[in-house]
Protein backbone atom coordinates (compact mmCIF):
# COMPACT_ATOMS: atom_id res chain seq x y z
CA UNK A 1 0.00 0.00 0.00
CA UNK A 2 1.33 3.37 -0.95
CA UNK A 3 1.03 6.41 1.24
CA UNK A 4 -0.36 9.59 -0.30
CA UNK A 5 2.21 12.07 -1.50
CA UNK A 6 3.69 13.86 1.44
CA UNK A 7 4.27 17.53 1.16
CA UNK A 8 7.31 19.05 2.73
CA UNK A 9 6.05 21.57 5.29
CA UNK A 10 9.26 22.83 6.82
CA UNK A 11 12.82 22.22 5.75
CA UNK A 12 15.65 23.42 7.95
CA UNK A 13 19.19 23.14 6.63
CA UNK A 14 22.30 23.70 8.74
CA UNK A 15 20.49 26.39 10.73
CA UNK A 16 21.81 28.11 13.82
CA UNK A 17 20.53 30.71 16.26
CA UNK A 18 22.99 33.03 17.98
CA UNK A 19 22.24 35.14 21.05
CA UNK A 20 24.73 37.30 22.91
CA UNK A 21 27.71 35.78 21.08
CA UNK A 22 26.68 32.23 21.90
CA UNK A 23 25.10 29.70 19.61
CA UNK A 24 21.90 28.42 21.19
CA UNK A 25 21.70 25.80 18.48
CA UNK A 26 23.74 25.21 15.38
CA UNK A 27 23.88 22.85 12.46
CA UNK A 28 20.23 21.90 12.72
CA UNK A 29 18.91 19.82 9.83
CA UNK A 30 15.28 18.91 10.02
CA UNK A 31 12.46 18.17 7.64
CA UNK A 32 8.81 17.81 8.53
CA UNK A 33 6.36 16.47 5.97
CA UNK A 34 2.60 16.29 6.23
CA UNK A 35 1.42 13.17 8.01
CA UNK A 36 4.77 12.76 9.71
CA UNK A 37 5.56 12.90 13.41
CA UNK A 38 8.95 14.24 14.41
CA UNK A 39 9.99 14.21 18.05
CA UNK A 40 12.69 16.45 19.51
CA UNK A 41 14.27 15.17 22.67
CA UNK A 42 17.16 16.50 24.66
CA UNK A 43 18.08 17.77 28.12
CA UNK A 44 16.99 21.19 29.40
CA UNK A 45 18.74 23.98 27.54
CA UNK A 46 19.59 21.75 24.61
CA UNK A 47 17.78 24.02 22.16
CA UNK A 48 14.50 22.16 21.75
CA UNK A 49 12.38 25.28 22.12
CA UNK A 50 14.74 27.33 19.96
CA UNK A 51 14.49 24.70 17.24
CA UNK A 52 10.70 24.65 17.56
CA UNK A 53 10.69 28.45 17.18
CA UNK A 54 12.66 28.09 13.96
CA UNK A 55 9.99 25.69 12.76
CA UNK A 56 7.09 27.98 13.68
CA UNK A 57 8.87 30.99 12.20
CA UNK A 58 9.05 32.92 15.48
CA UNK A 59 12.86 32.99 15.24
CA UNK A 60 14.88 33.63 12.12
CA UNK A 61 18.08 31.64 11.73
CA UNK A 62 21.41 33.46 12.04
CA UNK A 63 23.00 30.78 9.91
CA UNK A 64 21.69 28.25 7.44
CA UNK A 65 18.19 28.31 6.04
CA UNK A 66 14.62 27.63 7.08
CA UNK A 67 12.10 27.03 4.34
CA UNK A 68 8.49 26.97 5.39
CA UNK A 69 5.75 26.20 2.92
CA UNK A 70 3.94 29.42 2.00
CA UNK A 71 0.79 30.00 4.04
CA UNK A 72 1.65 27.29 6.55
CA UNK A 73 -0.94 27.16 9.34
CA UNK A 74 0.49 26.20 12.72
CA UNK A 75 -1.49 24.83 15.63
CA UNK A 76 0.43 25.19 18.89
CA UNK A 77 0.03 23.42 22.22
CA UNK A 78 2.18 25.29 24.75
CA UNK A 79 4.28 23.75 27.46
CA UNK A 80 2.90 25.42 30.53
CA UNK A 81 -0.30 27.31 30.52
CA UNK A 82 -1.35 28.73 33.85
CA UNK A 83 -4.51 30.71 33.28
CA UNK A 84 -5.08 33.24 36.00
CA UNK A 85 -8.26 32.66 37.96
CA UNK A 86 -9.28 36.25 37.28
CA UNK A 87 -9.72 35.41 33.61
CA UNK A 88 -13.11 33.75 33.07
CA UNK A 89 -12.49 31.30 30.26
CA UNK A 90 -14.69 28.39 29.30
CA UNK A 91 -13.60 25.57 27.03
CA UNK A 92 -15.95 27.02 24.40
CA UNK A 93 -14.26 30.42 24.55
CA UNK A 94 -10.80 28.86 24.57
CA UNK A 95 -11.50 27.39 21.13
CA UNK A 96 -11.80 30.83 19.55
CA UNK A 97 -8.69 32.26 21.19
CA UNK A 98 -6.76 32.99 18.00
CA UNK A 99 -9.53 32.83 15.40
CA UNK A 100 -13.23 32.91 14.76
CA UNK A 101 -15.00 29.54 14.65
CA UNK A 102 -18.63 28.53 14.66
CA UNK A 103 -20.49 26.30 17.10
CA UNK A 104 -20.35 23.28 14.83
CA UNK A 105 -16.61 23.48 14.40
CA UNK A 106 -16.16 23.81 18.15
CA UNK A 107 -18.35 20.81 18.85
CA UNK A 108 -16.61 18.79 16.17
CA UNK A 109 -13.08 19.29 17.57
CA UNK A 110 -14.24 18.71 21.13
CA UNK A 111 -15.80 15.43 20.01
CA UNK A 112 -12.54 14.58 18.25
CA UNK A 113 -10.59 14.83 21.51
CA UNK A 114 -13.44 13.34 23.55
CA UNK A 115 -14.42 16.25 25.82
CA UNK A 116 -17.73 17.39 24.31
CA UNK A 117 -19.33 17.28 27.75
CA UNK A 118 -16.87 19.91 29.04
CA UNK A 119 -17.80 22.61 26.54
CA UNK A 120 -19.13 24.97 29.23
CA UNK A 121 -16.62 24.09 31.93
CA UNK A 122 -14.16 26.72 33.10
CA UNK A 123 -10.66 25.78 32.01
CA UNK A 124 -9.34 26.35 35.53
CA UNK A 125 -11.54 23.47 36.70
CA UNK A 126 -10.23 20.89 34.25
CA UNK A 127 -7.90 18.07 35.24
CA UNK A 128 -4.44 17.96 33.67
CA UNK A 129 -5.49 15.46 31.02
CA UNK A 130 -8.76 17.25 30.20
CA UNK A 131 -6.92 20.54 29.87
CA UNK A 132 -4.34 19.07 27.51
CA UNK A 133 -7.19 17.69 25.39
CA UNK A 134 -8.86 21.10 25.36
CA UNK A 135 -5.58 22.68 24.26
CA UNK A 136 -5.21 20.10 21.50
CA UNK A 137 -8.77 20.76 20.33
CA UNK A 138 -7.94 24.47 20.27
CA UNK A 139 -4.87 23.81 18.15
CA UNK A 140 -6.63 21.56 15.62
CA UNK A 141 -9.70 23.74 15.17
CA UNK A 142 -7.45 25.87 12.95
CA UNK A 143 -7.03 22.87 10.63
CA UNK A 144 -3.29 23.25 10.94
CA UNK A 145 -0.81 21.95 8.41
CA UNK A 146 1.60 21.56 11.27
CA UNK A 147 0.82 20.75 14.88
CA UNK A 148 3.51 21.71 17.38
CA UNK A 149 3.24 20.22 20.86
CA UNK A 150 5.60 21.35 23.60
CA UNK A 151 5.74 18.71 26.35
CA UNK A 152 2.16 17.60 25.75
CA UNK A 153 1.97 15.14 28.63
CA UNK A 154 3.12 17.40 31.45
CA UNK A 155 0.97 17.09 34.55
CA UNK A 156 -0.74 13.99 33.22
CA UNK A 157 -0.52 10.60 34.92
CA UNK A 158 0.96 7.61 33.15
CA UNK A 159 -2.20 6.08 31.72
CA UNK A 160 -3.30 9.55 30.66
CA UNK A 161 0.06 9.98 28.91
CA UNK A 162 -0.49 6.86 26.86
CA UNK A 163 -4.01 8.01 25.94
CA UNK A 164 -2.70 11.43 24.88
CA UNK A 165 -0.02 9.92 22.66
CA UNK A 166 -2.72 7.74 21.13
CA UNK A 167 -4.77 10.84 20.50
CA UNK A 168 -1.85 12.64 18.81
CA UNK A 169 -1.41 9.72 16.43
CA UNK A 170 -5.13 9.65 15.78
CA UNK A 171 -5.26 13.39 15.03
CA UNK A 172 -2.34 12.99 12.64
CA UNK A 173 -4.20 10.20 10.83
CA UNK A 174 -7.45 12.15 10.70
CA UNK A 175 -6.27 15.55 9.55
CA UNK A 176 -3.03 14.48 7.92
CA UNK A 177 -0.99 17.27 9.47
CA UNK A 178 2.68 17.12 10.26
CA UNK A 179 3.46 16.93 13.97
CA UNK A 180 6.45 18.28 15.87
CA UNK A 181 6.62 16.93 19.41
CA UNK A 182 8.98 18.36 21.99
CA UNK A 183 9.81 16.22 24.96
CA UNK A 184 12.34 16.03 27.72
CA UNK A 185 10.38 13.20 29.18
CA UNK A 186 12.31 10.25 27.88
CA UNK A 187 10.16 7.61 29.43
CA UNK A 188 7.65 7.36 26.67
CA UNK A 189 8.38 8.10 23.08
CA UNK A 190 5.55 7.07 20.92
CA UNK A 191 6.32 4.44 18.32
CA UNK A 192 4.17 6.36 15.87
CA UNK A 193 7.02 8.87 15.82
CA UNK A 194 8.67 8.60 12.46
CA UNK A 195 11.83 10.40 13.43
CA UNK A 196 13.36 11.15 16.79
CA UNK A 197 15.91 13.93 16.82
CA UNK A 198 18.12 14.05 19.83
CA UNK A 199 19.42 17.57 20.50
CA UNK A 200 22.18 18.99 22.60
CA UNK A 201 22.89 22.35 21.00
CA UNK A 202 23.27 20.42 17.79
CA UNK A 203 21.75 17.25 16.41
CA UNK A 204 23.35 14.37 18.33
CA UNK A 205 21.59 11.60 16.55
CA UNK A 206 18.41 10.88 14.73
CA UNK A 207 16.35 8.01 13.44
CA UNK A 208 13.52 5.76 14.49
CA UNK A 209 12.84 5.66 18.24
CA UNK A 210 14.44 2.22 18.43
CA UNK A 211 17.61 3.20 16.62
CA UNK A 212 18.04 6.39 18.66
CA UNK A 213 17.62 4.49 21.90
CA UNK A 214 20.49 2.23 20.86
CA UNK A 215 22.78 4.89 19.44
CA UNK A 216 26.00 5.62 21.33
CA UNK A 217 25.42 9.41 21.13
CA UNK A 218 22.09 9.05 22.87
CA UNK A 219 23.58 6.77 25.50
CA UNK A 220 26.43 9.18 26.23
CA UNK A 221 24.05 12.13 26.46
CA UNK A 222 21.49 10.57 28.71
CA UNK A 223 23.36 7.66 30.24
CA UNK A 224 22.56 3.99 30.11
CA UNK A 225 19.98 4.33 32.85
CA UNK A 226 17.87 6.78 30.87
CA UNK A 227 18.15 4.55 27.85
CA UNK A 228 16.72 1.68 29.80
CA UNK A 229 13.77 3.85 30.69
CA UNK A 230 13.09 4.75 27.11
CA UNK A 231 9.96 2.81 26.58
CA UNK A 232 8.63 2.73 23.11
CA UNK A 233 4.92 2.88 23.25
CA UNK A 234 3.03 0.85 20.68
CA UNK A 235 -0.46 1.16 19.34
CA UNK A 236 -1.06 -2.49 20.17
CA UNK A 237 -2.76 -2.71 23.50
CA UNK A 238 -1.60 -6.20 24.23
CA UNK A 239 0.71 -4.95 26.95
CA UNK A 240 1.02 -2.18 29.49
CA UNK A 241 4.13 -0.11 30.10
CA UNK A 242 4.83 0.22 33.77
CA UNK A 243 6.17 3.46 35.23
CA UNK A 244 9.54 1.87 35.91
CA UNK A 245 9.96 1.03 32.25
CA UNK A 246 9.11 -2.62 32.49
CA UNK A 247 6.29 -4.04 30.48
CA UNK A 248 3.35 -6.11 31.55
CA UNK A 249 2.22 -8.42 28.77
CA UNK A 250 -1.40 -9.35 28.21
CA UNK A 251 -0.86 -12.65 30.00
CA UNK A 252 0.28 -10.82 33.11
CA UNK A 253 3.98 -11.58 32.82
CA UNK A 254 6.33 -8.68 33.40
CA UNK A 255 9.40 -8.24 31.25
CA UNK A 256 12.00 -5.50 30.94
CA UNK A 257 11.92 -3.30 27.86
CA UNK A 258 14.95 -5.00 26.41
CA UNK A 259 13.28 -8.36 26.19
CA UNK A 260 9.99 -6.91 25.15
CA UNK A 261 9.42 -7.28 21.43
CA UNK A 262 7.72 -4.47 19.60
CA UNK A 263 5.85 -5.62 16.61
CA UNK A 264 5.10 -2.95 14.09
CA UNK A 265 1.75 -3.35 12.47
CA UNK A 266 0.77 -2.03 9.09
CA UNK A 267 1.90 1.50 9.70
CA UNK A 268 3.37 3.07 6.63
CA UNK A 269 6.05 5.52 7.60
CA UNK A 270 6.74 7.01 4.22
CA UNK A 271 10.18 7.89 2.99
CA UNK A 272 12.97 7.95 5.48
CA UNK A 273 13.72 11.38 6.84
CA UNK A 274 17.17 10.52 8.00
CA UNK A 275 19.82 13.00 7.03
CA UNK A 276 23.21 11.49 6.69
CA UNK A 277 26.06 13.70 7.71
CA UNK A 278 29.45 13.28 6.21
Amino acid sequence: MDVPLRQTLVEIADAGVRRGGKWLVEGIDLTIRSGEIVTLIGPNGSGKSTTAKLVTGVLKPDAGSVNRRAGLTVGYVPQRLAIDWTLPLTVRRLMTLTGRFGRHEIERVLAQVGITHLIDAEVQHLSGGEFQRALMARAIIRKPDLLVLDEPVQGVDFSGEVALYDLIGQIRDEIGCGVLLISHDLHVVMAATDTVICLNGHVCCRGTPESVARSPEYLSLFGARAAKALAVYQHHHDHTHLPDGRVEEADGSIVSTHEHVHDHHGHAHGPSTRHDHA
Binding site: K53, T56, G57, V58, V74, G75, Y76, P78, Q79, L81, I83, D84, W85, T86, L87, P88, L89, T90, R93, L94, L97, T98, G99, H117, L118, I119, D120, A121, E122, H125, R142, V148, D150
Partner: protein
Protein backbone atom coordinates in the same frame (compact mmCIF):
# COMPACT_ATOMS: atom_id res chain seq x y z
CA UNK B 1 -32.07 69.68 40.47
CA UNK B 2 -28.45 68.82 40.24
CA UNK B 3 -25.99 71.61 40.18
CA UNK B 4 -24.09 72.09 36.93
CA UNK B 5 -20.71 71.20 38.37
CA UNK B 6 -22.14 68.03 39.84
CA UNK B 7 -23.75 66.95 36.56
CA UNK B 8 -20.43 67.57 34.77
CA UNK B 9 -18.58 65.51 37.38
CA UNK B 10 -21.07 62.67 36.92
CA UNK B 11 -20.81 62.69 33.14
CA UNK B 12 -17.02 62.87 33.25
CA UNK B 13 -16.62 60.17 35.88
CA UNK B 14 -18.98 57.74 34.19
CA UNK B 15 -17.26 58.29 30.84
CA UNK B 16 -13.94 57.50 32.47
CA UNK B 17 -15.29 54.38 34.18
CA UNK B 18 -16.58 53.02 30.87
CA UNK B 19 -12.96 53.02 29.65
CA UNK B 20 -11.11 51.96 32.81
CA UNK B 21 -13.40 48.95 33.31
CA UNK B 22 -12.48 47.01 30.14
CA UNK B 23 -8.85 48.19 30.16
CA UNK B 24 -8.59 47.31 33.83
CA UNK B 25 -9.57 43.71 33.05
CA UNK B 26 -6.29 43.30 31.18
CA UNK B 27 -4.40 44.84 34.08
CA UNK B 28 -5.95 42.27 36.40
CA UNK B 29 -5.57 39.31 34.02
CA UNK B 30 -1.94 40.11 33.29
CA UNK B 31 -1.15 40.85 36.95
CA UNK B 32 -0.02 44.33 36.06
CA UNK B 33 -1.66 46.30 38.84
CA UNK B 34 1.64 47.47 40.32
CA UNK B 35 2.80 48.26 36.81
CA UNK B 36 -0.27 50.41 36.24
CA UNK B 37 0.26 52.04 39.61
CA UNK B 38 3.85 52.89 38.70
CA UNK B 39 2.77 54.46 35.43
CA UNK B 40 0.12 56.44 37.29
CA UNK B 41 2.64 57.69 39.86
CA UNK B 42 4.90 58.88 37.07
CA UNK B 43 2.04 61.16 35.99
CA UNK B 44 3.11 63.66 38.64
CA UNK B 45 6.51 63.89 36.98
CA UNK B 46 4.58 64.44 33.77
CA UNK B 47 2.72 67.33 35.36
CA UNK B 48 5.95 68.91 36.62
CA UNK B 49 7.68 68.58 33.25
CA UNK B 50 4.64 70.02 31.47
CA UNK B 51 4.89 73.11 33.65
CA UNK B 52 8.62 73.32 33.11
CA UNK B 53 8.47 73.06 29.31
CA UNK B 54 5.05 74.68 29.05
CA UNK B 55 3.42 71.93 27.06
CA UNK B 56 -0.09 70.51 27.27
CA UNK B 57 -0.39 68.66 30.55
CA UNK B 58 -2.34 65.68 29.17
CA UNK B 59 0.33 65.24 26.52
CA UNK B 60 3.10 65.60 29.09
CA UNK B 61 1.58 62.96 31.37
CA UNK B 62 1.05 60.61 28.42
CA UNK B 63 4.67 60.99 27.28
CA UNK B 64 6.16 60.45 30.73
CA UNK B 65 3.93 57.45 31.46
CA UNK B 66 4.91 55.92 28.12
CA UNK B 67 8.60 56.62 28.77
CA UNK B 68 8.39 54.98 32.19
CA UNK B 69 6.67 51.91 30.70
CA UNK B 70 9.37 51.73 28.02
CA UNK B 71 12.16 52.12 30.57
CA UNK B 72 10.65 49.36 32.64
CA UNK B 73 10.41 46.96 29.70
CA UNK B 74 14.06 47.66 28.87
CA UNK B 75 15.24 47.22 32.47
CA UNK B 76 13.29 43.97 32.74
CA UNK B 77 15.29 42.52 29.85
CA UNK B 78 18.57 43.13 31.67
CA UNK B 79 17.45 40.77 34.43
CA UNK B 80 19.44 42.65 37.04
CA UNK B 81 16.69 43.43 39.53
CA UNK B 82 13.35 41.76 39.92
CA UNK B 83 10.40 43.45 38.24
CA UNK B 84 8.91 43.98 41.66
CA UNK B 85 11.91 45.97 42.89
CA UNK B 86 12.18 47.89 39.62
CA UNK B 87 8.55 48.93 39.91
CA UNK B 88 9.09 50.07 43.47
CA UNK B 89 12.07 52.18 42.45
CA UNK B 90 10.43 53.74 39.39
CA UNK B 91 7.10 54.29 41.09
CA UNK B 92 8.41 56.23 44.03
CA UNK B 93 11.29 58.00 42.36
CA UNK B 94 9.14 59.42 39.57
CA UNK B 95 6.59 60.58 42.12
CA UNK B 96 9.32 62.14 44.27
CA UNK B 97 11.12 63.79 41.36
CA UNK B 98 7.80 65.24 40.31
CA UNK B 99 7.21 66.67 43.79
CA UNK B 100 10.75 68.09 44.01
CA UNK B 101 10.48 69.71 40.58
CA UNK B 102 7.16 71.29 41.50
CA UNK B 103 8.74 72.68 44.68
CA UNK B 104 11.57 74.24 42.66
CA UNK B 105 9.16 76.03 40.38
CA UNK B 106 8.33 78.73 42.88
CA UNK B 107 6.74 80.87 40.20
CA UNK B 108 3.73 78.59 39.86
CA UNK B 109 1.20 77.61 42.45
CA UNK B 110 0.25 73.98 42.09
CA UNK B 111 -2.70 72.40 43.80
CA UNK B 112 -0.88 69.22 44.79
CA UNK B 113 -3.88 67.66 46.46
CA UNK B 114 -5.76 68.11 43.21
CA UNK B 115 -3.16 66.17 41.28
CA UNK B 116 -2.79 63.47 43.89
CA UNK B 117 -6.46 62.85 44.57
CA UNK B 118 -8.13 64.52 41.63
CA UNK B 119 -10.63 67.31 41.43
CA UNK B 120 -13.59 65.84 39.64
CA UNK B 121 -15.93 68.63 40.74
CA UNK B 122 -13.83 71.10 38.78
CA UNK B 123 -14.09 69.41 35.37
CA UNK B 124 -14.96 71.67 32.49
CA UNK B 125 -16.93 70.97 29.33
CA UNK B 126 -13.57 70.78 27.57
CA UNK B 127 -12.41 68.07 29.96
CA UNK B 128 -15.56 66.10 29.25
CA UNK B 129 -14.97 66.38 25.52
CA UNK B 130 -11.41 65.08 26.04
CA UNK B 131 -12.65 62.17 28.16
CA UNK B 132 -15.27 61.08 25.63
CA UNK B 133 -13.17 61.61 22.51
CA UNK B 134 -10.06 60.04 24.04
CA UNK B 135 -12.09 57.33 25.74
CA UNK B 136 -13.85 56.40 22.51
CA UNK B 137 -10.51 56.20 20.70
CA UNK B 138 -9.08 53.96 23.44
CA UNK B 139 -12.11 51.66 23.35
CA UNK B 140 -12.04 51.39 19.55
CA UNK B 141 -8.39 50.36 19.59
CA UNK B 142 -9.10 47.91 22.40
CA UNK B 143 -11.91 46.28 20.42
CA UNK B 144 -9.70 46.04 17.33
CA UNK B 145 -6.81 44.33 19.15
CA UNK B 146 -9.06 42.37 21.52
CA UNK B 147 -8.48 38.87 20.14
CA UNK B 148 -4.68 39.04 19.77
CA UNK B 149 -4.37 40.85 23.08
CA UNK B 150 -6.44 38.22 24.87
CA UNK B 151 -4.52 35.41 23.15
CA UNK B 152 -1.23 36.99 24.23
CA UNK B 153 -2.60 37.36 27.75
CA UNK B 154 -3.44 33.66 27.91
CA UNK B 155 -0.09 32.59 26.48
CA UNK B 156 2.39 34.75 24.57
CA UNK B 157 4.23 31.76 23.12
CA UNK B 158 1.03 30.32 21.73
CA UNK B 159 0.01 33.61 20.17
CA UNK B 160 3.45 34.02 18.64
CA UNK B 161 3.58 30.48 17.23
CA UNK B 162 0.21 30.96 15.58
CA UNK B 163 1.31 34.10 13.81
CA UNK B 164 0.16 36.85 16.18
CA UNK B 165 2.49 39.54 17.52
CA UNK B 166 2.32 39.51 21.33
CA UNK B 167 5.12 42.11 21.70
CA UNK B 168 3.22 44.56 19.53
CA UNK B 169 -0.06 44.04 21.37
CA UNK B 170 1.75 44.41 24.69
CA UNK B 171 3.23 47.74 23.59
CA UNK B 172 -0.21 48.83 22.44
CA UNK B 173 -1.66 47.97 25.83
CA UNK B 174 1.02 50.19 27.45
CA UNK B 175 0.07 53.06 25.16
CA UNK B 176 -3.62 52.62 25.96
CA UNK B 177 -2.79 52.56 29.65
CA UNK B 178 -0.68 55.71 29.35
CA UNK B 179 -3.53 57.42 27.50
CA UNK B 180 -6.13 56.53 30.10
CA UNK B 181 -3.80 57.73 32.85
CA UNK B 182 -3.31 61.04 31.04
CA UNK B 183 -7.05 61.47 30.73
CA UNK B 184 -7.96 60.22 34.21
CA UNK B 185 -5.34 62.05 36.23
CA UNK B 186 -7.30 65.26 36.49
CA UNK B 187 -10.48 63.40 37.49
CA UNK B 188 -9.39 60.97 40.16
CA UNK B 189 -5.76 61.96 40.66
CA UNK B 190 -2.47 60.12 40.44
CA UNK B 191 -2.99 57.97 43.51
CA UNK B 192 -6.46 56.72 42.70
CA UNK B 193 -6.31 55.93 38.98
CA UNK B 194 -5.23 52.34 39.52
CA UNK B 195 -8.19 51.73 41.77
CA UNK B 196 -10.60 52.66 38.96
CA UNK B 197 -8.74 50.22 36.74
CA UNK B 198 -8.59 47.33 39.17
CA UNK B 199 -11.54 47.42 41.56
CA UNK B 200 -14.34 47.33 38.94
CA UNK B 201 -12.54 44.56 37.01
CA UNK B 202 -12.02 42.50 40.15
CA UNK B 203 -15.66 43.02 41.10
CA UNK B 204 -16.82 41.89 37.67
CA UNK B 205 -14.92 38.59 37.87
CA UNK B 206 -17.51 36.79 39.96
CA UNK B 207 -20.32 38.02 37.75
CA UNK B 208 -18.88 36.94 34.40
CA UNK B 209 -18.45 33.73 32.43
CA UNK B 210 -16.40 35.09 29.53
CA UNK B 211 -13.69 37.76 29.16
CA UNK B 212 -16.00 39.90 27.02
CA UNK B 213 -18.74 39.76 29.64
CA UNK B 214 -16.25 40.71 32.33
CA UNK B 215 -15.15 43.79 30.36
CA UNK B 216 -18.74 44.99 29.97
CA UNK B 217 -19.68 44.25 33.57
CA UNK B 218 -16.54 46.07 34.78
CA UNK B 219 -17.52 49.15 32.78
CA UNK B 220 -20.99 49.08 34.34
CA UNK B 221 -19.72 48.53 37.85
CA UNK B 222 -17.23 51.36 37.47
CA UNK B 223 -20.02 53.69 36.36
CA UNK B 224 -22.17 52.69 39.33
CA UNK B 225 -19.19 53.23 41.64
CA UNK B 226 -18.58 56.71 40.26
CA UNK B 227 -22.25 57.67 40.62
CA UNK B 228 -22.46 56.20 44.13
CA UNK B 229 -19.26 57.91 45.22
CA UNK B 230 -20.29 61.28 43.86
CA UNK B 231 -23.74 61.20 45.44
CA UNK B 232 -22.13 60.04 48.67
CA UNK B 233 -19.64 62.90 48.60
CA UNK B 234 -22.47 65.35 48.02
CA UNK B 235 -24.57 63.89 50.82
CA UNK B 236 -21.81 63.57 53.40
CA UNK B 237 -19.56 66.38 52.19
CA UNK B 238 -16.57 64.06 51.67
CA UNK B 239 -13.77 64.43 49.09
CA UNK B 240 -15.11 63.18 45.77
CA UNK B 241 -12.15 61.15 44.42
CA UNK B 242 -11.68 59.02 47.53
CA UNK B 243 -15.48 58.68 47.86
CA UNK B 244 -15.61 57.09 44.40
CA UNK B 245 -12.93 54.59 45.40
CA UNK B 246 -14.79 53.81 48.63
CA UNK B 247 -18.01 53.24 46.69
CA UNK B 248 -16.22 50.94 44.23
CA UNK B 249 -14.70 49.08 47.13
CA UNK B 250 -18.16 48.66 48.65
CA UNK B 251 -19.42 47.12 45.39
CA UNK B 252 -16.43 44.76 45.41
CA UNK B 253 -17.26 43.62 48.94
CA UNK B 254 -20.89 43.11 47.93
CA UNK B 255 -19.78 40.96 44.99
CA UNK B 256 -18.03 38.64 47.41
CA UNK B 257 -21.40 37.79 48.92
CA UNK B 258 -22.67 36.44 45.61
CA UNK B 259 -22.24 32.66 45.44
CA UNK B 260 -19.60 32.04 42.80
CA UNK B 261 -21.61 29.27 41.11
CA UNK B 262 -24.37 31.66 40.19
CA UNK B 263 -22.81 33.25 37.14
CA UNK B 264 -19.62 31.42 36.34
CA UNK B 265 -19.60 28.35 34.19
CA UNK B 266 -20.46 24.99 35.63
CA UNK B 267 -17.85 22.36 36.18
CA UNK B 268 -19.70 19.91 33.96
CA UNK B 269 -22.84 19.95 31.98
CA UNK B 270 -25.18 17.09 32.66
CA UNK B 271 -25.28 14.84 29.62
Amino acid sequence: MLEDFFARALVAGIGLALVTGPLGCFIVWRRMSYFGDTMAHSALLGVALSFLFQINMTLGVFLVATAVAGALLLLQRRNALSTDALLGILSHSTLAIGLVLVAFMTWIRVDLMGFLFGDILAVSAGDIALIYAGGAAILIVLVLVWRPLLAATVNAELAEAEGLRPEVTKALLMLLLASVIAIAMKIVGVLLITSLLIIPAATARRLSATPEQMALVAAGIGAVGVAGGLFGSLRYDTPSGPSIVVAAMGLFLLSLLIPSQLFVAKRRESP
